[in-house]
Symmetry: C2
Subunit: 244 residues, 2 copies
Amino acid sequence: MALERGGGVRGLPDAKALPCGRCVGRDLNLCKPLDDRRLAQLLALGGPRLWARGETLFRAGDPMGSFFKIRSGIAAVFRMLDDGRRQVVALRAPGDCLGYLEEGGKYCFEGVALTEISACAFDRRQFDAFAALNPDVAAATAGELSRALKLTGQAMVVLGQLKSTERVAHFLVEIDTLYRERLVAQTRLSLLMNRSQIADYLGLTIETVSRAFGKLRKYAVIELVGNDEVIILDRARLREIGKV
Amino acid sequence: MALERGGGVRGLPDAKALPCGRCVGRDLNLCKPLDDRRLAQLLALGGPRLWARGETLFRAGDPMGSFFKIRSGIAAVFRMLDDGRRQVVALRAPGDCLGYLEEGGKYCFEGVALTEISACAFDRRQFDAFAALNPDVAAATAGELSRALKLTGQAMVVLGQLKSTERVAHFLVEIDTLYRERLVAQTRLSLLMNRSQIADYLGLTIETVSRAFGKLRKYAVIELVGNDEVIILDRARLREIGKV
DNA sequence: CGGGAACTTGATCTCGGTCAATATTGGTGG
DNA sequence: CCACCAATATTGACCGAGATCAAGTTCCCG
């Protein structure tokens, strides 16, 4: 799958990738790069593992063991209410971490693979100890967290203020940006999620998502290809509608 | 005002407060406490300043200078769309930071004082340099950020999935918790925000917020006192309704 | 007290949810 | 390669929660 082509580019334990500037976190290139000895220490903490599409990486309420750094593929972080309502809280791409948030030693959210995923698992305790000795790693962690916090703030605006079609437009821009920044730019955008997952991300129902796609298609802003792909015909207009 | 009684308890540059374990960030007590010399360095970065209720601490789009660490009072972080729609993205209490998030050297959100506020301003560049040399400060920053991220994730569930009355109930529990954890527990809960601000926080209109308060009052879960105060009559039921 | 701001309440409208077909799609086996 | 079929998405009809518009009321500060 095309998605996987980005694999390893920004993966934390990928030795080849580290010297080029994009390493533990996006801001780490502001600090001195990890040297080989310390890199080896980090590598020792967790090797890469694979998850199939749809597999769960961690579950809310489970005792927290390790967090995950994605090498390739896309994951979703979500929470479920007792009555079955579900909210996807974030999408995570190669280079991102997930499973980092905890409440009283338990995971706060749930993590699931949207595509096949390769990721490294790091024991949280060991990582924290490592970070306590390596200011640049700690700084990179803070950088990664502030990036996530910024996106989540954005998402609150989307959920709190935007209309259904605006939300879907925003979502498409988000996916598009994800591909352009982190993976491979492509004309045919793979949505990665089915309508139900998109609905749970945008706080809508599948029917409303479907109708919103319909409207955007009618406005000649996008074109749908099969169930999972979209072609953006008018990116400027899409951004405008999505209030990006 | 009652709120201000919490002042200084967890303020970063409050020398008296630091040795007791609650310092730069909530998790810093896991590390060795700041010693006096390094504390002095931090203090040199920014002295405390005052803001009146309703004053703006920073504006989205302004070039980022410093971020703020609240000593006393409550602040709100929000973003506004071109058409006037507004979303409050977070509430910040003593000990919290705000104005930390930036995009291309500009503030991403706007910060406003909900009560009179005393806060220290830290130059971001100087702070980052300081954190790069002090792993525990960097770790504390990461701790603060993950706490914020966790809350924002929660808020996404509220905005994406909860009904109006559930949202208002959740909000009340949130305020209640804020007081109990960070300020002084009190039977009469001061809302800090007017209906319009609450509405912008919950993604609702003032009328809907008002009706939700009405329902909760009718269910004998809360009692309203004037425009700004609430008495929680049935905390368990309130938490249940708010899906906390 | 008095008056303006903030909140509440009521009537109506609309967007999105719900329920129910219908249509596509994409994977499978003949 | 095609036919089939279960899964998924779309479309339509209707309904209801919350938005909008419009009065009242209450609050609170001088």
